[in-house]
């Protein structure tokens, strides 16, 4: 009995000694553990894709981007007359359609905006982020947002006397993906609803799909393009195509582009573009955006 006990003690002693040696050998190496942690983090953390596009507008239409929470974005847009005016008419720069508006980020998911366009057109919209493209723990191949807009034409005409007759709405689902640092694309299924139409044979709802993309040329310059394909259409109108550049400088984003539409409101440029893409219709235009921080996010205490 005593002998067995001794044996046990001996074994225990050896085990103890061994474990202690292991403990000594296991000196903490933070450098090593950090590298291991980094590998784990890549799988356990969600990395959200940011800056799919430079600003909240593709060219005429909405992009997947929102303004940040508490940020006011002042937008001034011009669409000039066709460039075929030549040197005499300064390539169309003499005449311009203009929209002035402000956008505001209520939180990181929801933004709203209002604007006025020449001719007494008032518009308002809200855009909500539904899904965000991400990698890591949560892998999401695309970002998805919903945008809803309303447009009021204040100019009365014989057949549209009540203001409710001069209202129309747009609903858009924006599905976007940043493929890499250089290429992003978005697809935008759209419904435009006219509260009132001229004849009873006309539909009140029109369906279309927008395609938008960017190619990053340098850190600050993007080549952008936007095309709206009308699935159900009104007679006498064509699809709108725009091509341009986004240029950013600090707090500004400048968008310069060529388009066959003189309009900036969803209804007008998607459904009511009148001239095909040729030298008689294409015009120069720009959007200038300047952001102001109105409400600092709470997490940023500086």
């Amino acid at each position: 009995m005593k002998r067995v006990f001794k044996k046990h003690v001996f074994a225990l002693a050896i085990i103890l000694a061994c474990t202690c040696k292991i403990a000594v050998a296991q000196d903490v190496d933070l450098f090593k553990s950090m590298d291991e942690q980094d590998k784990k983090d890549k799988q356990n953390q969600t990395d959200y894709t940011t800056a799919i596009f430079k600003t909240t507008r593709m060219i005429n239409g909405q992009s997947i981007e929102n303004v940040g929470a508490g940020v006011l974005d002042v937008k001034i847009s011009h669409r000039f007359t066709p460039i075929n005016a030549g040197a005499k008419g300064l390539w169309g720069l003499d005449g311009a359609n203009m929209r002035m508006g402000v956008d505001y980020g209520i939180n990181s998911k929801l933004m709203v905006g209002v604007g006025r366009t020449k001719g007494g057109l008032f518009d308002g919209f809200a855009k909500l982020k539904i899904l965000r493209q991400s990698t890591g723990k949560v892998t999401m191949p695309v970002s998805v947002s919903l945008s809803g807009g309303v447009l009021l034409s204040t100019e009365k005409s014989n057949s549209f006397n009540n203001y409710t007759d001069r209202l129309n709405y747009s609903v858009q689902a924006i599905i976007a993906r940043k493929f890499n640092d250089y290429i992003s694309l978005q697809v935008v299924p759209t419904v435009i609803h006219y509260n009132s139409v001229a004849t009873s044979s006309m539909s009140n709802d029109y369906y279309s799909v927008g395609l938008g993309g960017r190619i990053r040329l340098t850190k600050r310059v993007n080549l952008t393009s936007e095309y709206y394909y009308r699935i159900t259409k009104q007679e006498g109108y064509v699809n709108c195509l725009s091509v341009g550049f986004d240029i950013e400088t600090g707090g500004h984003v400048f968008q310069f582009h060529f388009s066959n539409s003189p309009d900036m409101n969803d209804r007008s440029f998607i459904e009511e573009t009148t001239s095909k893409w040729n030298v008689d219709a294409v015009r120069f235009g720009f959007n200038i955006a300047r952001v102001f921080v109105v409400n600092k996010p709470k997490e940023v205490k500086l």
């Binding site: 001794k6 003690v9 001996f10 225990l12 002693a13 050896i14 103890l16 000694a17 474990t19 202690c20 040696k21 403990a23 000594v24 000196d27 903490v28 190496d29 933070l30 450098f31 553990s33 950090m34 942690q37 980094d38 990395d47 959200y48 894709t49 940011t50 800056a51 303004v67 940040g68 929470a69 940020v71 980020g105 640092d181 850190k219 600050r220 950013e248 600090g250 707090g251 984003v253 952001v291 921080v293 600092k296 996010p297 997490e299 940023v300 205490k301 500086l302």
Partner: protein
Amino acid sequence: MKKVILIAGFTALLGTSAMSQKVYATKTGQISFDATGTCAEPIKAVNNQVDSKFVDKSGQIIFNVLIKGFKFPNALMEDHFNENYMESTKFPKADFKGFITNVASVNFAKDGTYDVSAKGTLTIDGKGKEMTVPGTITIAGGKPTLKASLNIPLKEFIHGSYIGTQISDNAKTVIVCKYD
């Protein structure tokens, strides 16, 4: 037999004394910087999710900083920071690996403020630079708080047309980490 037990016991003791080194850690450390240059708008950001650890005996210290964790008052500036300057999809983290060279002067059992200095490699945007950073460790109730400030010469890490003009080349950086 007694001898064996004695030796084993002695080794065990030795082992425990080596094990008694303590790793202090935090995942909510704060790093803020101010790189305001000639630009009218202040260029400031704060990151409240800094991962840092250090060992009391060896003085080994690390900081692991997620670039997208830096929050700016202006969301557009944050986008530019990530996309144009930090390339945070390519280099998601910045880190510092080094040693507190005079960690022995800190009495972790006694409340007080101790001057320390850390020497190591700061890596931003995939580029490393040897740096020596002075700071203080304050012990309160057995828990250390590290405070340090340093100037990070941005041009040595990142490229950007506005660095040195609108954006200062010296990012005044302040670190505050409360460890558990």
